[in-house]
């Protein structure tokens, strides 16, 4: 028994079992029974997003298998695992960025504040404003620093006039720790900044539309250690206001910035737990092998 849902993007057809859509809301309560093979507690008390039995196919390839996971409010959760384990794919489900890939098919349910984001009436564009994303490689627009930040508020009409827009730009840059460095050259091209500055610009750009969740797909993999340290500090500060999901290959980074860690292996979510527990006392063999560097 399943309902066919026509998403906003005509390229993607998503089939969501009707029973599961209804069940999703109940499952979001901590302690309730969730059918999963994952070791550890996949639910949290104060979840902003919940994923239940999410499966993703790229054509024939089954990239994410039956993943259930909660994203907690004001916390950082790190997704780790070897390359090709589906952690980035799962991340891209959370703001429906997989919609831009023609062959991708997503099953299962994902909710944001209790509302299914793959539901028919869900406005994808609105969703992405609430679930922001920072990419692996800094991708500032070929515009000035100011315009890079102002882009999101402009298209969503978040600022009534120029003064308000200036305000948004300044606070976003300040939150991203970039204001002091660029305040005198807001009209310079964003592409002229250094790699670390560009990445912070992209974070500021995501903050500017005032999201609830920020997804980060290996945000430091293209940066040097100093720039990486700055971003990590920034992530820790941003936790005050946002839920953050970060995909990383760097286990020290996961240990440093996150409160919870999820270990993915071949498309499955193997283990979830408090970060210090995962790194000091993993309960699953695969997690232990990966953490201790026996493979991956």
């Amino acid at each position: 028994m399943s309902t066919e849902i026509a998403p906003t993007d005509p390229n993607v057809r998503i089939r969501v079992p009707r029973a599961r859509v209804a069940a999703a809301a109940d499952d979001s309560q901590p302690g309730s029974k969730i059918e999963t093979k994952t070791v550890g507690q996949v639910t949290v008390a104060d979840a902003v997003m919940t994923a239940r039995r999410v499966n993703v196919h790229y054509g024939e390839k089954h990239a994410v298998k039956d993943v259930s996971l909660d994203i907690g409010r004001n916390a950082v959760i790190a997704l780790i695992g070897p390359s090709g384990c589906g952690k980035s794919t799962f991340l891209r489900c959370l703001n429906r960025m997989n919609d831009t890939i023609d062959s991708a098919r997503v099953d299962g349910s994902i909710t944001l504040d209790g509302v299914d984001i793959y539901e028919k009436r869900q406005d994808v564009v609105q969703l992405r404003a609430r679930v922001g994303m920072v990419f692996q490689k800094p991708n500032p627009f070929p515009k000035s620093i100011y315009e890079n930040i102002a882009y999101g508020p402009r298209i969503h009409g978040l600022a009534a006039n120029r003064a308000e827009l200036d305000e948004v730009v300044q606070t976003s840059l300040a939150k991203a720790g970039l204001w002091e460095e660029v305040k005198d050259r807001l009209d310079h091209p964003g592409t002229g900044l250094s790699g670390g500055q560009q990445q912070r610009l992209c974070i500021a750009r995501a903050i500017a539309v005032d999201p609830e969740v920020i997804l980060m797909d290996e945000p430091c993999s293209a940066l040097d250690p100093i720039a990486t340290a700055r971003i990590e500090d920034l992530i820790d500060e941003l936790r005050q206001n946002y839920a953050i999901v970060i995909v990383t290959h760097n286990m020290q980074q996961a240990a440093r910035v996150s409160q919870r860690t999820a270990y993915f292996h071949l498309g499955e979510l193997v283990e979830v737990g408090a970060t210090n527990q995962i790194f000091t006392n993993p309960r699953h063999r695969l997690t232990e092998d990966y953490i201790t560097g026996r493979f991956g």
Partner: protein, 462 residues
């Protein structure tokens, strides 16, 4: 001996040089097993020897044939009777022409004057002497060059670097040919244009508002004023180009956006080749489409709307030209839009931008330099386009910006000025070259501006 035989002989020598050079290099290091002791691969030694055979020999042969006629003419003139040696330049030219015709056999020797006959005999004798000397010199040089290169072969000889150098020079020469051709075209047009400006002042040409190139042949001839004010032609060209661009830029750009951003692979596979078919249609066909279909259509449409539309209006020519230019704009814009990295689109989508917002605010600005380049390319194409306007725009040089009237363009006037029997040194014919020069300068300026814009934006966007 015929020159082609010599060339073949040199080529045979070259092939031989390659084999010998290669063999010697291998022999010097004691057979194929020792080739690792050579500086370069054996074939490079072969090539080097072959090049030393061919290049000096062919070079000398070419130079000889370019220069020997001059020497022969001098010698033949010196042999002529004294009274014929001191003729004015043009009569001397005629005389030499006679001699040349006798030599080549197009004028029977029996009909020529005795002096000419003897000069022709002398010419023939000198020519065969020169041919033999040139051929033997070339062959000797080929042999000597080959032998020298062959002797120089040693395991230490840097044959590879030598061949590299020759390749470099050959490539540079090829690129020079294109540049020299351009310079040659400029000079020839400039020369004729200057002749024209000696008769008609430059200011009259550029600022005059009456174009009527018929020159009076007699003093009392009526209606042939010979006015060369090119302003009506410029405005006509401008008007038609503007109409064409007004059609081509939006349609081309939008279809490029549709193809690059919205169409799926199957639709793209159908539409893109179809669009490019437009570029393959001969302009003559566009021309009669404009003259026979679009012109009358616009005329009757105008009648319906109560407007007076000339059957050869600027609008119909510009409209059809715009259609013709669409693929130029669309395929360049399509390439540029596709080249915008996906990461930029992802960035915009991740902020909650819709597709059209992403295209408008992110993709198009990033692709702008290429798009501007494509548009300016299309403009110079429109300005230089001839066939459509010849057939559809008319000949009346009217100074107007009304697209419903018949106008004429620079290219149309060049065609009509040069068609038919004309005196070559009359201002009427020469004015075609002046117009050509203006056209050339205009497109050159456009291209320079296009390059400047593209470079400016590229700096900003990289």
């Amino acid at each position: 001996m015929h020159t082609s035989v010599i060339v073949v002989a040199i080529l045979v020598l070259t092939a031989l040089g390659y084999r010998l050079g290669r063999r010697r290099s291998v022999a010097l290091v004691g057979g194929p097993r020792g080739t690792r002791n050579l500086h370069s691969l054996p074939s490079y030694y072969g090539f080097l020897t072959a090049l030393w055979c061919a290049l000096p020999a062919l070079g000398v042969l070419g130079a000889w044939h370019l220069l020997d006629e001059r020497v022969i003419v001098g010698a033949v003139l010196a042999e002529l009777p004294p009274d014929m040696q001191h003729l004015p330049a043009d009569q001397q030219g005629l005389l030499l022409n006679d001699v040349r015709n006798v030599v080549s056999g197009s004028l029977p020797a029996a009909e020529a004057r005795p002096e000419v006959q003897s000069a022709a005999r002398e010419w023939r004798r000198l020519q065969s002497l020169s041919n033999a000397a040139g051929a033997s010199l070339a062959l000797c040089l080929g042999l000597a060059g080959g032998a020298l290169a062959w002797r120089r072969i040693s395991p230490e000889l840097r044959a590879r670097n030598g061949v590299e150098r020759v390749v470099e020079i050959a490539l540079a020469l090829c690129s020079m040919i294109a540049i020299l051709t351009t310079i040659g075209i400029i000079l020839s047009v400039l020369y004729e244009a200057l002749n024209f400006f000696r008769v008609v002042p430059l200011t009259d040409f550029i600022f005059g508002t009456t174009w009527s190139p018929q020159m009076a042949m007699r003093a009392d001839q009526v209606g042939s004023s010979g006015a060369f004010g090119a302003v009506p032609l410029f405005t006509g060209t401008l008007l038609i180009s503007l109409i064409a661009m007004a059609i081509a830029v939006p349609i081309g750009l939008f279809s490029a956006i549709c193809l690059a951003e919205y169409a799926d692979r199957r639709l793209r596979a159908v539409i893109k080749p179809l669009l490019e078919v437009l570029a393959g249609i001969p302009t003559v066909v566009y021309g009669f489409f404009a003259a026979l279909t679009v012109g009358p259509l616009l005329r009757s449409a105008g009648q319906f709307a109560g407007l007076e539309v000339a059957s050869e209006s600027a609008l119909s020519a510009g409209f059809v030209m715009g259609i013709m230019i669409i693929p130029f704009v669309s395929s360049l814009a399509d390439d540029m839009i596709t080249a915008v990295p996906q990461s930029l689109r992802d960035g915009a989508y991740a902020l909650g931008a819709t597709r059209s917002e992403t295209i408008r605010r992110v993709v198009l600005p990033a692709a702008l330099p290429g798009i501007v380049g494509g548009v300016l390319l299309a403009v110079s194409r429109a300005i230089g386009e001839t066939m459509i306007v010849v057939m559809a725009a008319g000949l009346a040089a009217k100074l107007t910006f009304n697209p419903l009237e018949a106008v004429t363009t620079v290219t149309v006037q060049i065609v009509t000025l040069l068609i038919g029997d004309n005196e070559f040194n009359s201002p009427k014919t020469l004015s075609a070259f002046a117009l050509g020069l203006v056209l050339f300068v205009a497109t050159l300026l456009l291209n320079i501006i296009a390059l400047k814009i593209v470079r400016k934006y590229r700096e900003q966007y990289e």
